[in-house]
Symmetry: C2
DNA sequence: GTTTGTGCAAATGCTTTGCAATTTG
DNA sequence: CAAATTGCAAAGCATTTGCACAAAC
């Protein structure tokens, strides 16, 4: 990947997670982690599956889904659902939390981060007496015409 | 429904929409609108289908999906997706815009409304030079233990 | 050697589609 | 009566599951 050295850390985080959970450190699990981290932005299961098939990895969709579940649990990967379509996954480590704008005409996905969401979160936690674990904020819109 | 008189307005909105689009005013379309407006909160397709079956309406799932599409387009109904599950629909008229908290342990869904989301929206519109049509904000969390 | 994890294929669950029969305008 | 809409059943997808085989520990 682009920055080899940083991936060693990621891999170490996953290794520690697997050990703590007494799960097996299979090559498939590491390859999937690596491919998600190689991906530019958001990647869906089908693309990932075909990508790995083309690279002659031996992976099944079942293993992809199973492993992704683990990567979500140890927070190395984040999952998003835009519209009705299939889920998208993206690396979470070394990448700050952000939300998304979905351009409904082109399908393009923009990222942004706004601190005010954090203050809304705090208010909601107080009002309902809950502990918020995560959030998702999506804006749907279209580019303005240049005129 | 609870407030018969207000439903006449809703029905009128739908009627106007159908006329403008030169679509046919079928009894199925009006019944579906009515049932969604009868529902307390969010309702999913399966529940709605069984509900209507039990009331001896003649409706198919296909018609439910088709009609719901129309109701979404004329903004009489809003659609939500929480987690990976099936979509939920709810009446939009006479009900202010709101966002959701999903309690991950119980599956309970709470509603809230926070004006700060509107200011975030305005910022995003400026920054990306886009026109935002709608948004969805979900918080995922759990109730705090009483201790 | 046990037990967990894997690939495969079949199953599931929500949603969409094709089509003949029906209904609206 | 022509065209749109319906119900039904079948098809589509993304995701999950069951199970025999393979690989970690």
């Amino acid at each position: 990947m682009a920055c080899e050295s940083s991936f060693i850390i990621i891999k170490g985080v996953f290794k520690a997670f697997l050990e703590e959970r007494r799960l097996r450190k299979t090559p498939e699990r590491y390859s999937i982690l690596e491919e998600v981290y190689n991906a530019k932005g958001h990647i869906d299961m089908d693309t990932l599956y075909l990508l790995m098939k083309n690279k002659n990895y031996r992976v099944s969709r079942a293993t992809l889904y199973n492993t992704m579940e683990l990567l979500l649990e140890c927070r190395l990967v984040r999952k998003h659902q835009f519209g009705n379509k299939s889920s998208y996954y993206e690396k979470a480590f070394f990448k700050s939390e952000h939300d998304h704008v979905i351009l409904t005409d082109t399908g393009e996905i923009l990222e942004f981060s706004d601190p005010r969401i954090e203050s809304i979160k705090e208010t909601i936690e107080e009002v309902f007496n809950i502990k918020i674990d995560k959030h998702s904020l999506h804006f749907y819109g279209e580019r303005k015409q240049e005129s």
